[in-house]
Amino acid sequence: MAAEYVATMYVLFLFIFFPVLNLGTCGLRAFFLWFACNQATMLAAKAKTFNTLVYVPEPSGTPYPGAYATARARAAQIRSMFPGVDWTTNATNPEVRIIRAVIPGSGAPAVADVIGPNTLGLGNIPDVDQYVCTIRVTINGQVTPLIPVPWFNIQGLSSPMFLTVSSEAQFENPPGLQF
């Protein structure tokens, strides 16, 4: 029976407990990854500009660095809070995208998304009667299992799982998107 238990425990831990633990860890960390993305979006949506630092009031009030920087900083902050959540940072990861969705019935033409750090540009003020302006943050990241297994490569089970998460929220100051 002892032998049987040893075998059972072996099966239990090797094939069930650790894999489930790794998968569960990955799931939890995937949630943290999404959480970082979501929090980045929520904060970015409240920004006053898209990629310009302003102070309210000028010149030394509360700094508002813009949606692009705010989203990336917030995402990085949350990443630092949770080990095992990571992504390669570059200009478009996390990606902060301006989406102008046409309001049905407005008759406005569809327009292309703008991806940060680009802004809409001076003079390109979205008409809020025709478009719903939203910020979408997308992160191409990875979450690592609790116990890496070097012998074989199954994402989420034995090696980091690559994920793309995104979140979207309405931007509160649409004219600020031109800056």
Partner: protein, 820 residues
Amino acid sequence: MNERRIRNQKGAAVTGLVIALFMFIMLAGFFAFDSSRLQMAQRELTATCDAASLAGTAMLTSLDIANDDATASKLGTAQAQACAYARNMFQNGNMLGRSLGSANVVSPYSAVSTIGNPGDCNVMISLADPQQQFIGVAPVFPDRLNGRAIMCYAGYTYNPVFLGVIGVGKVLLQANSGGGLPQVDAVLVFDYSGSMDDATNVTFIRRTWDSTVAASGGASAGRTDYSVFTSANAVQDGSSGAPQSTTNGVVHYIEVPPPGVSHRMSDYIQFDYVAQPNGFPLNVLPPQSLPTADHTNSMAANKYVFDYNLRANSLLWHPTIPKVGSPLARFQKDYGTPPGNCTLEYPFGYGKFYSESAAAPTFGTMTIAAGATGNTAYNPNAPFAGSLIATEHPRTIATSFRYPAYVNTGADQHIFTDLVVNIANPGSWPYAQPLNGPTNFVGFSNFQFPSQEPDPALAGQTFSFENIGVLTEAARGNLDIDGTENFFTNALLDRGSVYSTTSGTIASKQPTGMTAAHRAANYQKAYQRLAMLYSQPIATAIDGAYGGFFQKINTLTDCRFGFVGFSNADQSVANPSGPNYTSQGSGHNLAADQPNSFFTSAQYNGRGIGSMYRSTKFTAPEYTTAIAGGAGSGFRQPRRALVKSESQNASYSGVVGGLQSSTVNAYCAPWSALAGVANANGLENGTPMADTATAEALKTARSMFHNGASYDIATLSNNRPAAKHAIVFFTDGVPNASDAGPTLTEAQGCKGEGIAVFTIGLDVTNNPVLQGSQVSFLGNLPSGLAGASGNGGKFFPCASASTVRDSFSAVARRLTQGQR
């Protein structure tokens, strides 16, 4: 046995495995359940904080903080109410299906972090200073002045449902949120059209010479004006009647009654608002445009007629007459020219007091006759040494000449010379609008302006307005003491004067009691200040714009303001169609039905106002010739450009002017104090004029957002990118057809520039025609200004003056709501 036991134990490991798996999965499920629930609770707590802080901040923008006292007690009350509102909003929230109604309101902040029993919630609502990284602000003066945001901090004790079994205890969830400090850059476009004072209670006065009354006081030696009167009812040629006695004749003020009970100016002349929804250009303060009383759309059976022949000095606006430094300068003052309050104008005047080098009516060089220089030229008490000019002394009375008659019937009853506001004691500072004067003027004495009165010439000073005689002379300026000029004597008021408050009942005339002792510095200014406060609906509208918009925005946001007063298009600049960021004067009264504006000195408050007397209705030179030496060319409309670089306080003070005594400086004051100062561009520096020239005004307002280094939304350096850009357009009318199209074009231009146009349409006449026109012109459809501008612009109709502040508050609320 042993084998059996062994056999029986076969599969036990599988059972254990299954049990272990079951436990493992169950624990994982419990963990997942509690984690999800924890996350949900966190989100609900955050959302509740968001809702509470936003609601509190929104409430703060909704409460009245206008005309606050020195310790900002109104603001303190508003902040307390806003915090209470935020707390209520929080306690109306739910957490995990349970009400937060029993949430503990705690203080200080550390108490929020206290772990209590499962389900306990602690909340703290506080003021914060958005300018200082949202640090807390104590609700006491002066700290409260910086408390522009409502913060909500909350702590919730979460008790895991399952994980408690494995030793995971209570968890404290925390959240906080605060209403942000919005940036607002707004330009107010404010209507100073002639209709903005139509609802003022006024009295029409016929000021005339009464030769039946014995003079008194200073009426001593002097010659008889033998041009003159032989009866109380008519101006007669001296040759046809007996010369007057030197001891007879005083000024008589006769109330010209309205057709009904109401003394509202529009009721006086029974104006037809259906035919002309925009009202009429007759004004209670300069420019009064008194000849417009007999407006085409006046429905009075006998129209009220201003007789310019009975009003003094029209001729004396001639450009050859020096404005200062000459005895003739006194002509520019609005003395009543006795006798008979008649003009010197040929052929109705009495040319005994001067001679002309050229034949009349060419109006050549005018000089005082010899021997008269020591006295007022037209003073009948002065010795006469000039030569009579025959043509100026017609022996027959022109049929078109209106007499200063006392006749109680027919059209003559409606002849008037003065229009005065039924002022009253406005109470203590701050004056509470709406102030409506009494239906019938009630004299009052010893009114002392509050010490907070922004006009330093009036603050603390005492004035009396005992009857319509005093009121009229105060309005004319004849009770002023101004240097060496003696208006009182020149107007022959030293002979005594009488008044009648019921038209035609000469017997009821009573002495006015005016003596030289009545004179005081700034008497006219005092009248004008009180008249301004009692001018409706403009006084209430100004108060509404000030308290409902400017004060609120200034208190609760980081803001810059621009201001565009409008009425008539500015004709004095190179570009009459605008934009004009400053206004030296509007060339008004050019239209045939808007003749000149009587009763304002060319040197009104020290400022030449140029061609304000222009008119095409009357062809005499005094109406069509610009006043020489006038620095301006008409009444100014206050305008102040939006400037990014100036401080918020400077911007605010510049547009609110003297509405707030603490903001008075060289550039802002009530118009009564600084109307002549070029930089006086506050709300109170405008006065109703005539037209509703909206296109130039809106173009100017829009251009203030494209004004180079001052402000330019097309550049980052000259812009405030985080600011909400808005134009608030207030009017009590609609433009004429030619103006409507260009105005709409400007609003459409705002759409692509992110500028919202909020429109406020006031109708104090309950006129469905006007209301319909305003909905169309100002409304939310693409054909209306608000709708055309997009960007969240909205139209707010106002059915009464008292709701103007509510509408301005609604606009302010829309501009100030935000979240950090």
